[in-house]
């Protein structure tokens, strides 16, 4: 079960504002985390707490193939991302880095500051503040396993017995 407080954003949040190109030379994830969402919400990094959840509208993470857009959020403490839809590359990168992603058509019911409880397996998302239960289609078993293992590399190591 994932629990956390919501930071809510709009539609078409692209990877250039999540992790600006000028920081692409960074390779230390903790350094990357210091710039999470910098060009969208400069205060994000100072506000976000371990376990918080990012909620957004349509086409979250569109743009570049840079997985740093996932890494910076993960190391800033974000425990899951909920959006109406995700850009394909961001979605793959999230799964492959072990970041839970939830595709939910009615994110409009969720407000900034709400507390959420998410069960990835059953496909249930509870807004604690309003006691409302929303449903989403759980990810295929195969993909859930990658997320559970903590990402593609731990998953591959398990498969290769390394």
């Amino acid at each position: 079960m994932i629990k956390g407080k919501v930071w809510k954003y709009g539609d078409n949040i692209n990877t250039d504002v999540i992790f600006p190109g000028r920081y692409l030379a960074l390779t230390d994830p903790d350094e990357m985390a210091k710039h999470a969402m910098e060009d969208l919400d400069a205060d994000f990094v100072s506000k976000v707490q371990e376990g918080d959840i990012v909620v957004a509208g349509r086409f979250f993470g569109c743009g570049s193939s840079r997985e740093q857009a996932v890494t910076c959020l993960k190391y800033a403490g974000v425990s899951a991302i909920v959006a109406k839809s995700f850009a394909r590359l961001f979605f793959r990168n999230a799964v492959n880095l072990g970041m839970p992603v939830v595709q939910l058509p009615d994110t409009d019911k969720i407000e900034n500051g709400h507390e959420l409880e998410i069960d990835l397996k059953s496909g249930e998302l509870k807004i604690v503040d309003t006691d409302k239960l929303l449903h989403f289609k759980p990810l295929p078993e195969f993909i859930l396993r990658i997320i559970e293992d903590g990402g593609l590399i731990p998953n591959l190591k398990k498969r290769l017995d390394l």
Binding site: D16, C62, L160
Partner: protein, 418 residues
Amino acid sequence: MGKTIAEKILLKASGEADVELGDIVEAKVDLAMSHDNAALVSKHFKTIGVERVWNPERIVILLDHRVPANSVQTATGHKAIRGFVSEQNLPNFYDMNAGICHQILPEKGHVRPGELIVGTDSHTTTHGAFGAFAIAIGATEMSTVWATGSLWLKVPETIRIEVSGSLPAHVYAKDVILNIIGTLGSDYADYKAVEFYGDTVSEFSIASRMVVSNQAMEMGSKAAIIPPDEKTTDYVGSRTSLPFTPVFADQDAEYLDTEVFDVSALEPQIACPHSPSNVKNISEVAGTPVDQAFLGSCTNGRLEDLKVTVNILKGKKIASSTRMIVIPASWEIYSEAMHKGYLKVFLDSGAIIVNPGCGPCLGAHEGILADGEKAISSSNRNFRGRMGSTESEVYLSSPAVVAASALRGEITDPRTIE
């Protein structure tokens, strides 16, 4: 039921007896490309615990995003990449004197119709112009491809786009694809493959087809495929001696959607800030002052783009209120531009010529915009802050519009320049 090109290439790559839409398959990769982010990929690779990459011949690494290095951090990344390349004995490494990844791959004969290509760059869709299924992946995923030669892929639905009509003067492939994206929207093809058909596309040169497949990423396309024809096989055949088998869609292939465009009356198109899908006719934005004009990138830095620009700039001077930056997409193009006398035209007009690479396109290296500045650019993406300050603005257009705008210092319809 017949199959689309994407389905057929994935069927072959999966080694399965059959695949269906939505299936997740383990697909074998024909080619794996990384650029400066190979530093990150190799860092991940080392954590897997596999000693050697799966097949050195099938990996291409090149440096293009920040060349020559602009900081100690970048230089350290480049150095790590060179170290990894020699450790693993990778034959297909191109250092900073080659060009932009999406130009270098076909130019050096690494792209073949019918193949599965993965790259750690979103515009890897470019290679769909050669009838390949070419998609972008992240760095972590690439490290596992280096280790195993395969990855999980979902068999996508395919959209068919038909473009017909001959283009009016001063209207180009860039205008066509911007018009398509403006009409269909930035997430129209998210998770979907797109196939392009029609007489306009058949008439396009290889370079123009690459513009279409490159820019098509900006409507979310997973892959942007142009069925191969004689032009394709001639080009590919002149660049590689390895055999290849073009793949075509079946007559009865099933498409999610078919969109038809007639471009015979199209005017030059501009993608306005801050989205490549915020597309307007040039008449709506002409007169907007620009501080910088950028000709280059993997979208429009090829010889035919330089030629169009040179024809407009010849014997004229760039406006004193504007700076123009020209970046040939590769050293081969750079060298041809020199032989053809294009470079002299650029210099005489007052443009700055920069070594092949991504340059200002991603706002990480050079040609950065200040607060309040505006640029007209032949590149493919104009998100907020993309070329520098988050308070700057980028307008995307064809090279012809870039050149005309550089002359007047404001967004200018090339049809108004005699």
